[in-house]
Amino acid sequence: MLKYIGLRLAQSIFVLFGLSILIFFIARVMPGDPARQALGLLATQEQVERVREQMHLNDPFPVQYYYWLRSLLHGDLGISSYTHRAVTTDLAQYIPATLELILFATLISLIVGQVTGVLAGYFRNSWFDGASRLVSYLGIATPSFVVAILLLFIFSQLLKMAPGVGRIPIMMQPPPVRTGFMTIDGLLAGRPDVTLTALKHLILPAISLAVIHIAQEGRITRTSIVENMQKDYITVHQVHGIKTRRLVFKYLLKPSIIPTVTVMGLDFSFLMSNAFLVEIVYMWPGFSRYAVTAMLNKDLNAIVAVVLVIGLTFALVNLLVDIVITFLDPATRIRRKGG
């Protein structure tokens, strides 16, 4: 088992290397002068040239990559040409906001999505199943920025039921940053009002993110449940007398969520990319908005860093999902133990 994890980690590192080369290549080869970008239009040509030397921009590509890699391994991701700070500082500031949002969204999608999926599958062809199928079709077809705009429009602007954009109201004093999670920092600073408000502000964006996952993963669970309900072993269990409740929540559920968990790994990447869109709509000061800003401003260091962070996160999440599957599915476990 450990061998398997080791192997996967090695694979991921290799892939991330390749990714870094790819994105670095694209960044450096594309038109535009990063040095000029960093200094602005008012800088003189000499200044630009000097900075170009500093950034090794006149060196051959492999050399540039080497310098960049070296800094990376020292924990230095360069300076953002937009914020003029170390990229690592920027990341440290913005990642927790996005993380908080993503975790909240995942929680919502798990609870709502899985419960609906199980019920829809079990009561197949009932009105509930039909209704949830309709909703899930819509959910899958709606881009998350549309969901975000619609939710904002309906609940915040029309019905005034939810707060507007941002993590906390503009007027509110933010608590000192400890974890970066507004909800936790509020509690840590003894200010539950912050936590409460932060939660309220989290709802709409988190739902916007969660919708497509509820739709997709819920459907997979539903299909899985329907399929498994027809399997021989369910009939056999029924005939052998196992109680219905135990049958459903144990014997039907466990094999049915395996395909869903498998998909969750892949879906996580969509979660991360949809965060880009949702954060723009809700003006969420997060990593994704930072990424989009970097891209719009050709902030090369930031772009490369962002892509790598996402790649790394995705790889780790996939690994995590794989480990969970190994626990759930004995066939996979046995295969991986080599036994």
């Binding site: 892939v15 038109p31 881009p143």
Partner: protein, 298 residues
Amino acid sequence: MKAERRADLLATLAQRRRALAKGWYKFSRNPLSVLGLVVLTIVVLAAILAPFITPYPEHARPYTNFKAASLPPSAAHFFGTDRIGRDIFSRVIFGYRFSLMIGAVVLGLSVPLGVVLGLIAGYRNGSLIEVVIMRITDIFLAVPPLVLALAITAMLTPNLTNQMMAIAMVFWPWYTRLVFAVASSLRNEFFVRDAELTGASRAHILFREILPNCFAPIMTKMTLDMGIVILLGASLSFIGLGVQPPKPGLGTMVAEGAKRLPGEWWSTIFPALAIVIVILAFNLVGDGIRDVFAVEEV
């Protein structure tokens, strides 16, 4: 001799017709799939005939008319007008042109590339070329498609062509992976070995023996992917890296209109709904196609 060949041909045609009829039967079992097909047909026809059926086709080109700006939906303007006076309904129909074109071009480029690479990698499973192809595929798939497409478009000048190139670059690996799985599992089947033994050319084996077996998943995936490509395109346009104003890209219109909420809700809601409708239609049709290819048990 000729009579034989004619008989053969007729038999094959009859077989194909029957397969089509059966396919349609399976497809039409699900009323939603049929609905999707109807909506899709309407959208495609509307997009093709856009200059002729829209009330104000000139509004899709640079146009301003401040006297008619920001009008709510009415009989003259079904979807209202935007802040510089352009009819949103006409622009939405023209916007469909972009969406469909993006889908067609992206898939037209990435599917053949991805499939061919997948076939080669699957057939030569275990060889160096397979390792190279699949590792490159892994690299491209290490990041969500939107992010990579964004990064690439961001480096280039944001416009429609570059957007399509970027999305295509991000899309082919999915097909490679799909076809690789099928091809590598079929690699050792009898019919492939037979073909090798009788001296069939590599191309024949790949395209006439292995590829037909991948047909079903590829078709299904392609239909569903149209929806995804349109979604990606709309997202890129929304961020500002896709179809540039004043061109009527659907995502672009949503972004422009979003600033006008809640007052002029029509300038963002209608383009948004248009996006949802076309993606939904593709999804429903894709489901239907999946049903057509599903193996049924009695």
